[in-house]
């Protein structure tokens, strides 16, 4: 069956290249459309679609083929992730996948579907360290850096800003629990003191009791690992209203405009620092992306929207580089377009990239989130920004060096 399949693929492909007419090349776009992080998904999908739009507006893939993103819902649930992966790989016959969003859904999807099927995937928001360990035949990539990096970056930032004692609280979900673990370990290793480290169940109405306990032992600040919607905002509100904590350090699950809208900029100014796996906002690559996505009415700083763009754009480059919509060749090409040597390609510069590749030259994508060079595990090291509230009542980002 497999040989037959390979043969027929080759036959079908040679047929397609003979006719050389514009067709669709489908790329799976797997995301947690429903489920616990549904509120974060819309900007990520907007980022992915913008990249596909850039590709299609500037000559398309290969022989002018349209890059078509096929959405499937992984619901942040490995069951749904496997089902969604199976559908895009087998029914839609996508050549590659961008996604899935959550680490759990990604873990299930790649192990059960895409690795056996030989389909390459780039996740834009799966951050669990366990994904690094997978025996993935070089098929699993991500542009979202592993939590190990962000936890360390935030810990050193807290110490650098003169805080030596913190209390840690985290929501019991895959993302925040992992991040908190790394943060607490690194913070201690760097010489800080963690006065308390406490889990909390998300989506409760009040966290006053938990906060009162956390406030004991003289912590100077609260390190808060939570999604803004499910518990983060409530915790900040409860802390400030009751005078328990005034200073907060948080990670990118908290990075949203609604934190400012709901708590108020004046109360929070100078009192909250949110680390974010982000972009160098002064970088020309980021600016290109930001201008393009702002024109769509999407906030360029929305969590993982830039990652969605980069993952999709890299996939398009890999398809172009592979020279055919062949799954195996795309997988082989992906790493080489992500890093040097080669001419630098920035967001939106599809026509330039297409020309270079057609001339047989190497390209090196430098994306909205940074240089996105895949290492041997398919991970990127990523860069981090610290968001604080500026005079205009909006988030202001400073890059962490």
């Amino acid at each position: 069956m497999k040989y037959l399949a390979k043969f027929s693929l080759a036959a079908a492909f040679s047929l397609a290249s003979m006719t050389a007419s514009a067709a669709d090349i489908k790329v799976g776009s797997v995301a947690g459309v429903t489920g616990p992080i549904a509120e974060l998904v819309a900007p990520i999908l907007a980022g992915r679609n913008l990249a596909a739009e850039h590709v299609n507006a500037q000559g398309g893939l290969l022989q002018g083929d349209t890059m078509k993103m096929v959405v499937a819902d992984s619901a942040c649930d490995p069951k749904a992730g496997v089902d969604a992966g199976g559908k895009v790989v087998n029914i839609e016959q996508v050549v590659a996948i961008v996604g899935a969003s959550c680490s759990g859904a990604t873990n299930g999807m790649v192990q059960s579907v895409t690795i056996p099927a030989g389909v390459v995937s780039v996740s834009d928001s799966a951050t669990a360290p366990s994904i690094t360990d997978l025996k993935d035949n070089d098929l699993v990539y991500r542009v979202a850096p592993s939590d190990s990096y962000q936890g360390r970056a935030l810990a050193s930032h807290v110490l650098a800003s003169g805080i030596k004692k913190v209390a840690v609280t985290y929501a019991t979900d895959d993302y925040n629990a992992g991040l908190a673990e790394v943060f607490a370990r690194e913070f201690k290793n760097m010489g800080g003191t963690v006065t308390a480290n406490q889990a909390h169940e998300p989506k409760k109405a009040s966290y006053r009791g938990e906060l009162a306990t956390l406030a004991k032992g003289g912590p100077e600040a609260l390190a808060l690992f939570a999604y803004y919607g499910s518990s983060g905002i409530t915790i900040i509100r409860n802390s400030i209203e009751n005078g328990l904590f005034g200073k907060f350090y948080a990670a990118d699950g908290m990075f949203d405009k609604s934190v400012i809208e709901q708590i108020g900029a004046d109360v929070l100014r100078g009192n909250i620092d949110i680390s974010q796996s982000s972009s160098d906002y002064d970088d020309v690559s980021y600016k290109l992306f930001a201008a393009a996505i702002s024109a769509k009415g999407v906030n360029p700083k929305a969590p993982y929207a830039a990652h969605g763009y980069d993952a999709t754009f890299l996939m398009a480059l890999a398809i172009e580089k592979a020279g055919s919509a062949d799954r195996g060749k795309i997988a082989a090409a992906l790493r080489s377009v992500s890093k040097g040597p080669g001419e630098v390609i920035r967001p939106g510069e599809w026509a330039k990239a297409k020309k270079l590749i057609s001339e047989g030259k190497d390209v090196n994508y430098e994306g909205a989130t940074g240089i996105v060079d895949f290492d041997e595990n398919g991970d990127v090291s990523g860069i981090y920004g610290i968001n604080t509230i500026g005079a205009d009542g909006n988030w202001q980002t400073k890059l962490l060096k």
């Binding site: 069956m1 497999k2 037959l4 399949a5 027929s8 693929l9 036959a11 079908a12 459309v33 429903t34 489920g35 616990p36 998904v41 819309a42 999908l45 679609n49 993103m69 096929v70 959405v71 499937a72 819902d73 619901a75 942040c76 649930d77 490995p78 069951k79 749904a80 496997v82 089902d83 969604a84 199976g86 559908k87 790989v89 087998n90 029914i91 839609e92 016959q93 959550c102 680490s103 759990g104 859904a105 873990n107 299930g108 192990q111 059960s112 056996p116 099927a117 669990a128 366990s130 360990d133 997978l134 025996k135 019991t172 979900d173 895959d174 993302y175 629990a177 992992g178 889990a199 169940e201």
Partner: protein
Amino acid sequence: MEQFYGYFLYLISLATMGGIYAILTLGLNIQWGFTGLFNVGIAGFFAIGAYVSAILTTAPSIRHLGGYQMPYAVSFIAAMLVSACIAWAVGKVCLRLRTDYLAIATIGIAEIFRLILKNETWATNGPRGVSMIPKPFETLPEPWNQLCFLALVILTVFVIYLALEVAHKSPWGRVMTAIRENEIAAKAAGKNVERFRMQGFIFGCMLMALAGAYTAHYLKFIDPNATEPLTTTFLVWVMLIVGGSANNRGAVLGAFAMWTVWSASEILASRLPDELAIRTAYIRIFLIGFVLQIFLQKYPKGFLSETRPHPRAARTPGYSEPE
């Protein structure tokens, strides 16, 4: 041709998940269809099976309890036994309750299990889940590995189905029906109602654990999100009601039919423009609720209605079917 091969692979995965849901639905059918126990804690027993089997078979890991690397047969049996013990304890407490109290109690217990899985990080890696779970037949080439796994699932469904058919027609099954229909009469006939109910509950929970174990190996990964109630409890209930409760064939049919609807409806949704596709995801959930309402009101017996077990011997004079 490539497209047809794709359809073929998708059908395999559809049938595999359908089969796993059929095991869940058969388990629920023992509890609800035959014994009349309203268990809304399916997700809890599913989770127990999944985690026990996952932890027993994985290689050592710094992230969770493990490294026992037991053979699958052992881990499947262990999953069922652990689930049986917990079901016994839960049953001791809850089975005396009226049906809707039992519903509330079991949904609560399933939530407590989920809290334990999320908080006892040393054993379960907490919310981050257990990864790199081995999968039976995974060393075979594509698509044979998938076909063999499917064969395992289908064979299991078939064996359970046969066993339940025999049980349903046996004196044991008839007592079960009697208890469901008229508990007092069954008591008066000298049957130990409590014990029979407990047996029904435990057997059902064992099957749910087996389905959980299969899922963990099939996905090669398990986390608390995989045991959320929408797709592990509510969907199973809809499957049983649609297929026809108290009918094993109905339960299996309902599982395959509803899983196909659930999974395949998304293929249509993904053809829509994005903004619509995102919202359509919620319409799918709406439709599941609506299908349930339609079946409850118009076809309360489901696709296949109950077949009453009849004793082979001549009926006792004056005996009539209890309604």
